[in-house]
């Protein structure tokens, strides 16, 4: 009865997290229901996000205790977050465990901490691409693709790797959160240990989704996500939970990581990390960003491409930038007023998890500045009674002279793009430019 309970919880809790994230993401719409910001709080469980936020603002946010609780749990009992709370993990854990020769390529496994170091360097050098790879952000973006009716390539790839290599391949090799927690889990005080009654039947490795038990090795690596499958499957009841630090020599995981490799990896990472800022385009393409977005360069650094702002935008004026815009701008939200204008509902500010879009009151919003081409404007050039820009402007920044000719009051203009969007000319005579 007890065993059944564990097996059931093991499915229920991660599946619940996955379904909750899907529903919460779907609820990112106008008017934004109060419960939708639970997604924000879920995302804050992740220490990587804390690191990113600390990098961008220089201060610890009020919710810093949440990732710290996660870290404490990891130090106490290992990757419980990955095994029990991660929505992506919840999905992957449902995959059947198969054998694949790919799963134990030693160099792939031993270079994973070098990869972790690399992503952390990127993060500190000023790019939130690593945050994109963490579960809550990646899932949001991929769910957005699904919602748009396009193929979520990355998610498909992760699932395929889970099916053909082993379920938690992504979590142990790519996911920065998973790797960070794995690194911490090396010092965990409580862990599963295989004792001497083990008959080396190998049943545990067949059921382990994390590839953390090796046949005959009799050891549980730091990748253990404490799902309890092996513990339930073992005919000898050889697995026990022990609350003591195991001697380093016993630790299977350290066997694959020599000191030399570690330094090599570290050096390569340092070089790559230091080189990253040089790779950034010196002159960013001039685009309009969501209302409240921080200055362009910092925006590119902070945005994790989670697409939540794009999802919540009621006028769908936020458009993820295509790959042609370069890797630094890829998937960041931009506004093209001719397609849709910003309605200034400011919901994007509420859902952005990375402070790329800050909470700025309407009076301080400056998406851009409208510039009127008097040579082509219907009122100026043809004396027509158009003034659509004036009708459209929500902040009354378009004023008119005694002949009813429009001009822009730069002080009032917020750059929402209403005028550019409304201009009836084929090529708008009023255009919003980024500042």
């Amino acid at each position: 009865m007890r065993l059944l309970t564990l097996a059931l919880w093991r499915r229920i809790i991660p599946c619940f997290m996955l379904v909750a994230v899907i529903i919460l993401f779907w609820r990112h719409q106008y008017p934004l229901p109060a419960d939708a910001n639970a997604l924000l709080w879920f995302s804050r469980l992740d220490p990587i996000l804390l690191l990113a936020e600390w990098r961008s603002t220089g201060v610890l946010p009020g919710w810093f205790w949440l990732p710290f609780v996660m870290i404490a749990i990891t130090l106490a009992g290992g990757r419980l977050f990955c095994g029990w709370l991660c929505p992506l993990g919840g999905l992957l854990a449902q995959l059947p465990r198969r054998y694949s020769r790919l799963q134990s390529i030693p160099w792939l496994y031993s270079s994973r901490y070098a990869w972790l170091l690399f992503t952390l360097m990127l993060l500190l050098a000023g790019s939130n691409w690593p945050v994109f790879l963490t579960p809550f952000h990646l899932l949001s973006e991929e769910l957005f693709r699904l919602w748009k009716g396009t193929v979520p390539w990355l998610l498909a790839g992760i699932l395929l790797s889970g099916i053909f290599i082993y379920p938690r391949f992504w979590c142990n090799h790519i996911c920065p959160t998973g790797l960070l927690l794995a690194a911490m889990a090396r010092w965990r005080s409580g862990r599963l240990v295989v004792d001497s009654v083990c008959s080396h039947c190998g049943v545990c490795t067949k059921v382990c989704p994390t590839h953390s038990l090796q046949i005959m090795a009799g050891l549980v690596a730091e990748d253990c996500m404490v799902c309890g499958r092996c513990w339930q499957a073992c005919p000898q009841e050889a697995l026990t939970w022990q609350s003591r630090a195991v001697k380093k020599a016993d630790d299977y995981s350290s066997a694959g990581l020599s000191r030399r490799q570690f330094f090599k990896g570290g050096f390569a990472v340092f070089v790559a990390g230091a080189g990253w800022p040089l790779l950034q385009p010196s002159s960013a393409p001039a685009v309009l960003r969501p209302p409240g977005a921080v200055a362009e360069e910092e925006f590119l650094a902070r945005c994790s491409r989670c697409s939540r702002c794009v999802k919540v935008c009621p006028s769908q004026c936020l458009i993820p930038m295509p790959i042609e815009a370069g890797i630094t701008a890829f998937l960041t939200p931009s506004i093209i007023p001719r397609q849709a204008k910003c309605e200034l509902c400011l919901l994007c500010q509420e859902v952005c998890p990375t402070m790329a879009i800050e909470s700025v009151p309407l009076q301080q919003v400056k998406i851009g500045l409208a510039i009127l081409d008097e040579r082509r404007c219907l009122v100026w050039a043809e004396k027509k009674l158009c003034l659509l820009c004036r009708e459209q402007c929500p902040v009354h920044a378009i004023e008119a002279d005694e002949y009813n000719r429009p001009y822009v009051n730069n002080k009032l203009c917020v750059g929402c793009g209403g005028c550019e969007n409304g201009c009836p000319l084929k090529q708008a005579a009023i255009v919003v430019r980024p500042i």
Binding site: L385, Q392, P424
Partner: protein, 310 residues
């Protein structure tokens, strides 16, 4: 640590961390002709211009229809009613830029009492329709009163049909199917300031029944509005002049004037002409009104009508 403890840790740790945080056939003859003749037959009873004083939309509406001989003079059992309201901008009800939700709800209730089969409230907002529907409070009010409400945005195929006008400024427009097919068409504008046409009322409100109104602005806006009024004459125009902005229109927010009036009329030009006077404008100074009157849409000199104040 034994199994029991393990279960405890695994489950509670997991749980604990989680807890932290219409199929109408298109008519060949326009239906308002029938309504119009009906009204004219009753002209002894029905005054041409009813002006109701007050500040409570519901009671004002009831009073107005009483003065018109009851809503059953307009809405027959089984009729389809279309109401063109104004919820074009994302403003709160108290900002007085959009149709008062109480008024819309009251109209729906009256129509339902008269036995209307279906009551649709429509607009074609020029800002985000979803935000407009929510913020103006009209969606909630209409749905609660038992009506239908939707916006015509993104629905060229669904909501519009080409109509020949053969005017000087307009040859053909894509016009609202709902309005063309309705048995009863109530135009429910709000009186407020407008940057381009100075003031917006009934005739301007009907610009929201046209798909490509951007074209209006590239040509002769006033003539376009006037010619558009020849397409379908509202069964009744109910001009909401209870509260309205006197500047920064149509978007607002702006200074609010309390006129405390609701104006009913079957002559769309006369209703607007009266409204213009209320707003402090000479009706003849509004080009679209003057042109519409010339085209025979209605009477510019509203004082010539049978005016009844209640």
């Amino acid at each position: 640590m034994d199994r029991r403890e393990f279960i405890k840790i695994a489950t509670y740790a997991g749980l604990g961390t989680f807890l932290l945080p219409g199929c109408h056939t298109a008519r060949t003859s326009l239906p308002e002709e029938r309504n119009l003749s009906g009204n004219q037959g009753n002209s002894a009873v029905i005054s041409d211009l009813i002006i109701v004083q007050g500040s409570q939309p519901e009671s004002m509406l009831t009073k107005g229809f009483e003065a018109l001989g009851g809503i059953q003079n307009f809405v027959k059992p089984g009729n389809t009613v279309v109401v063109k309201a104004n919820f074009s901008v994302p403003r709160l009800p108290e900002e007085a830029c959009t149709t008062n939700p109480l008024l819309a709800a009251a109209l729906i209730k009256l129509c339902r009492q008269a036995g209307a089969k279906e009551i649709k409230v429509i607009d074609y907002p020029f800002t985000n329709p979803v935000i407009c529907l929510e913020k103006t409070g009209i969606k909630k009010a209409v749905l609660e009163a038992g009506g239908k409400i939707y916006t015509l945005n993104n629905g060229l195929e669904r909501y519009f049909t080409p109509v020949k006008i053969n005017g000087q400024a307009l040859l053909e427009v894509d016009y609202s199917k709902d309005v063309l097919e309705a048995d009863v068409f109530f135009n429910l504008p709000i009186l407020k300031h407008h940057y381009i046409t100075d003031v917006t009322m009934g005739l301007k409100n009907m610009m929201g029944l046209v798909w490509d109104r951007g074209y209006f602005h590239t040509g002769e806006l006033h003539r376009c509005i006037a010619e558009l009024a020849t397409v379908r004459r509202p069964t009744l125009t109910i001009l909401e002049a209870i509260r309205g902005i006197t500047a920064n229109g149509p978007t607002g927010p702006g200074p609010i004037q309390e006129y405390n009036q609701l104006i009913f009329g079957t002559d769309p030009v006369a209703v607007d002409a009266y409204g213009a006077t209320l707003f402090g404008k000479k009706p003849a100074k509004l080009d679209y009104l003057r042109i519409a009157a010339e085209k025979g849409v209605g009477q510019l000199d509203w004082e010539k009508l049978n005016v009844k104040r209640v």
